[in-house]
Symmetry: C2
């Protein structure tokens, strides 16, 4: 397929609107209304076989009859006509298409078939397509409003891409009020051709774009998206709200966009990998849109709060600590300057409470001093309406003082009508003003997260032990053989062999088919030993009472063998029992770790590390990462878990060799990557710590079913 | 002290304003402006020695000269004059006083002295005092605005009590816009006399009041507060936002209100005990104020979402699942009715997506059907502005349909100017309309929490084993003796004796002073044993390497004794070593529990139960409860921890005798309560599970220093 750039889509000289209409409340009318008379410098051609003109412009029967080559065709006709019209467009030399119409894969089987037909229409032609089922896009600088949105967008430096058209309308309405401007405002729709990755790639070449905001429900080309996002976010922020976190909501998203989404936690890992900041709620998406487009990225996480009200100061402090950011400590100089400028009852600390009777002049003086505090990276200015407070005056002062500052400045004027004018002054002058100080803090913490993301990308890589990937070919043959036998689940011993080949320490493990062999092998391994049932039909060995631990004599081993076999036979009379594994008993610190990998439908192989054992699900202390790992990932993964503080050596007991752990994570991910076609999922459970060293004590590898 | 009711304060027939003024921007002027011409049916007397009249009303030189008995005097003069004026008020027979003036304990030592003087002025007189350092109060139904707030309050059924005056102004401004009305709007200030408890007590007798909203930073009379709140919240909801969650913010609160606050987590326990719903942010406080005053408490947690936009539907579902509430499942009848009423591409599920081209009529039809869904307790209606959506029309339809419904109905019209009129229609008609659907869900989840709180109060009590509180007198003497010796830390053996006396199972523990005695005692207890250092100077035995576990022979015991003594001597050469404790080694399941109790400065003795051992601080899995416990608390406490699912018998390994655990919690809390004067703090750490039975394996009791 030939991929032309998206230039013709977003900077067209000629636009055809197929389905243009003068019919009240029709999409075709809305499109024309938005396009015409907006100042667009190119030509607009309405296409409607039933009319001579639309919106006062001569109308053509079909795209073929338009006298000029069309850069962009917007199709807003019933879905069943769209594939045919798309073919006509291709034939007529149209460079790019927006399909506004809905009625494709989001509506079920029939729609999906129609969507496939539409895909075939443009396949191999180089024509790019936005949609279907989208609102179109707006590009204010070129005066293009190629959408049927109810509001226009103000010009600015933000690029927004939304998978929900309905949300776009709400955002535009909001942006108008908060004075947030856009370079591009794009409704991405069904992503038949153009996806998030394409758009981010395109936006990266536009130096005007200072940040990208995404509303996402699902993702189609994960690799492309990650590559594009990584490149962009190294220089400028990408913020995403991804909905469909839970099974129930993902279900709602499917019925609504027709797209399947993978496990939401994997999205978290992917966003992290790409340096993207993920926000939780629509309010935060709006807040970040405003703050990232109006204020500089902070240089650190230290916030100075200035307020005319004690209570809101306390609440802001709560929010700051909760967010993981810090209260800036006031320097001696700042304190003495504030002492001179403020009445003696000021708070003498951060939050700087300048008291309820503060005049705009007092507020301005305090602001000037606070904005010069070298310990602070951000100033949050709070105002509550009190008898004397004059919210608009203070807003003007803040705007003035802010001009000289390189700090991130956010504000919250608490109230409604009384503070309205002040809010408007702030918003019109690039100082985001939030309903509550808590929201200001939350938005700042996202800005701070982006700052840390950039930092992370340049962090030194940790040293890893050399790898042992020699037996790749041999393992490959072994896996083929297992599949040939009709098996997909490897035994513990088979699994451990593969781990060992990739440098992962396992406890010595042998198979015994009878009690005598068990005793013999126990002696060769050395007491105490553990014994476990080996059977393809029994994967949950504990449930089958198929495990015996801490056996320290020949007698015990002999007895255990019989008990395990009997228990297994009872548990599943149909199970074919291979034997019992005999392995070195690891004297563990008591902490069980788990390493696992699964296949996500969006992002492919994903690694999991965390607290294992019985408590795994209860505490959910885990860290996910896409496979293959980046160079520093093996060291970073454990740091994101709570148990890391134990592994580092908190109270010594659970201290682990962290370099060895990193090596294990790397080795494991290499297994998953080297055999990504063969292995569906795998885990080491538990991975135990014994005197600081790590041992894979049980392991399981499950293959994909052969096709 | 004689406590008159607060009737004269809140329903005065005559009001004097001391410090009344016509001076521009003065508090005295603001007070008069708010009081006069507001329709108050009693008399208002300005007091100002320098003026003949204020606000056109004859002014008196002092309170003594007013011809009528004054029910309420409002003082707004400089702080140093306030105690003197208060004394004059008492003398003149004034029944209640509001001190607006600041400059008391919130400003440091001098102010605190002034506050004491003010307290003495009213002490024993029966005169009640609101403030100092407050905004006053507003009571719209009686047309009393006894405050210097910048806005008046609308009449309604909500009572608001705020410890931050500045916040009050913001809330009033907001309430005006959102059409939220108040029966009482009270700025509580420094709580010299009237505290939260007094006010809640008073409000309980006003049947008009349908809910109470509190903004709290600290609490002075915890017992009174809890009693009053418990009584009120059994019938009607109390919602609280308490700030100062963290050390940093509590510090900010001190400098601002002059009051110390206890541990924030203990407030959580106290609020729970009193059936109070705690919200986290100011936005939620506002949202709850609106919803609780306009909508009924839901009958369950199942939400039905109706929306004209898929994306916001997905986000709402995310928020619902995250909140712990549930999506209502649509009944067959509802689905077939919706099938008939909606275009065939509707979502066929909850969220009910009626699609972007929905007309007000379609919205109304769907609403009618959804409001009749018997599986739903709440309907959240969402609208985004789309070409055809007519937000105001849909709002009118919703208002109409809602009239017939007993469900909780919330809404979110997403956007600004385009949806403004619709929002206003909803708000004026008692349907709360939020900026985002996530906020609607959050508010609903608080309503649902209140519903559950009521339910909890009537839950059946669990059966507890009989208690063993016989040795109370003996223990009391023993504690006195220990204090007499100049000790405050009990040894492990002493501590365990007390536990045992209260029915708490401990592992048998004896003291050995030499190796021979250790061996003898180990034999009498039975092998294997554990040994621990006993020394008043060594409380962290692990750090001193003063513990040896799993000793299974005389030889091992003998050696361990020497090693422990040597380690202890090395760890702290000055420590006086009493000996070594010998105790039965408990074969534990591997899960360590902890039970502890501390003394909170606000609420007194507080019990803690949770995950113990090394991981305690890392996972923070704990549950706090005030002492004495309520009857069902011993069973409820463990349920609030994550490890409860283990204790219940998840995968069997960690199953514990829950009735025994409840008994231990009860016994422990009885110890703390019976000796609350003597004991400062105590803990059982660890409490181990062995074959389902529980054992206090180590224990520590610390006494208050004798005065």
């Amino acid at each position: 397929m030939v991929f032309l750039s998206l230039e013709k889509m977003f900077d067209p000289k000629s636009i055809a609107v197929i389905g243009a209409s003068d019919h009240q409340d029709s999409v075709g009318q809305a499109l024309m209304k938005n396009l015409v008379g907006n100042g667009f410098s190119g030509s607009i051609y309405p296409i409607n076989p039933n009319r001579k003109n639309v919106s006062g412009i001569h109308s053509y029967r079909s795209i073929a009859q338009v006298p000029e080559k069309i850069d962009l065709a917007i199709i807003a006709t019933p879905s069943f006509t769209v594939p045919r019209i798309a073919r006509q467009c291709v034939k007529a030399g149209v460079k790019s298409i927006i399909v506004i119409s809905s009625g494709f894969s989001e509506t079920g089987k029939k729609g999906a078939a129609l969507e496939k037909e539409l895909a075939r229409a443009i396949e191999g032609t180089g024509v790019r397509l936005l949609g279907p089922n989208c609102l179109g896009y707006i590009r204010p600088d070129k005066k293009i409003n190629a959408s049927f949105a109810i509001r226009n967008a103000l010009p600015g430096k933000l690029a927004l891409i939304s998978q929900s058209g309905a949300l776009c309308s709400g955002i535009l309405d909001w942006a108008q009020k908060e004075k947030v401007g856009f370079k591009y405002f794009i409704s991405i729709g069904g992503m038949l051709d153009i996806g998030f990755g394409d758009l981010i790639d395109f936006l990266e070449n536009d130096t005007d774009v200072e940040s990208i905001v995404l509303y996402m429900e699902s993702l189609k080309n994960a690799e492309k998206f990650l590559d594009a996002a990584k490149k962009f976010s190294k220089k400028k922020p990408i913020i995403v709200a991804k909905s469909g976190r839970f099974e129930e909501s993902a279900k709602a998203a499917i019925s609504h966009t027709g797209a399947m989404a993978g496990n939401d936690e994997v999205f978290d890992a992917a966003f992290r990998r790409a340096g993207i900041v993920r926000v939780e709620e629509i309010q935060d998406l709006l807040g970040c849109s405003e703050a990232f487009s109006k204020q500089p990225i902070p240089k650190g996480d230290k916030i100075l709060v200035i307020t005319n009200a004690g209570g809101p100061g306390v609440m802001t402090t709560d929010a700051i600590i909760k967010s993981g950011c810090r209260l800036a400590s006031l320097s001696g100089e700042t304190i003495s300057r504030l002492n001179r400028a403020l009445p003696k009852n000021w708070s003498h600390n951060n939050p700087v409470d300048i008291l309820g009777d503060a005049s705009p002049e007092r507020y301005a003086k305090a602001l000037e001093i606070c904005l010069n505090e070298k310990n602070a990276d951000c100033v949050i200015a709070i105002l509550t309406p009190q008898a004397i407070s004059k919210p608009a005056e203070v807003a003007k002062k803040l705007v003035e003082e802010a001009k000289e500052s390189e700090k991130t400045i956010l504000s919250s004027w608490i109230g409604e009508a009384f503070v309205e004018e002040g809010k408007e002054i702030l918003q019109a002058n690039n100082i985001p003003c939030f309903e509550t100080p808590e929201e200001a803090v939350r938005v700042f913490s996202y800005m701070n997260q982006y700052r840390k993301n950039i930092g992370n990308a340049y962090e030194a890589h940790c040293e890893l032990p050399p790898l042992h990937r020699h037996n790749k070919e041999k393992i490959s043959l072994k896996l083929k053989e297992i599949l040939r036998q009709g098996r997909t689940v490897l035994t513990e011993i088979e699994s451990k062999e593969i781990l060992k080949a990739y440098g992962i320490p396992v406890n010595e493990t042998m198979l015994a088919k009878n009690p005598e062999s068990a005793v013999f092998k126990a002696n060769s391994i050395g007491f105490p030993v553990a014994m476990k049932i080996v059977s393809n039909e029994i994967t949950h060995k504990t449930d089958a009472k198929g495990i015996a631990l801490n056996l320290s004599s020949e007698k015990e081993v002999e007895m255990a063998f019989d008990v395990i076999i009997k228990n297994a036979e009872k548990f599943n009379p149909k199970a074919k029992i291979t034997g019992v594994s005999i392995q070195k008993m690891i004297e563990s610190s008591g902490l069980e770790l788990i390493i696992g990998a699964k296949t996500d439908i969006t992002f492919g192989k994903v690694l999991l590390f965390g607290l294992g054992g019985t408590a795994t699900e209860i505490f959910g202390d885990k860290s996910l990462e896409l496979i293959p790992l980046t160079k520093n990932a093996p060291c970073e993964i454990p740091k994101r878990t709570k148990i890391y503080s134990l592994l580092k050596g908190y109270r010594h007991k659970f201290k682990a060799d962290l370099a060895e752990l990193a090596g294990i994570l790397e080795g494991f991910s290499h297994i998953m990557n080297d055999f990504k076609e063969e292995i569906e999922e795998a885990d080491i459970n538990p991975l135990l710590i014994s005197n600081g060293k790590l041992f894979a004590v049980d392991a399981r590898i499950i293959l994909k079913k052969a096709k």
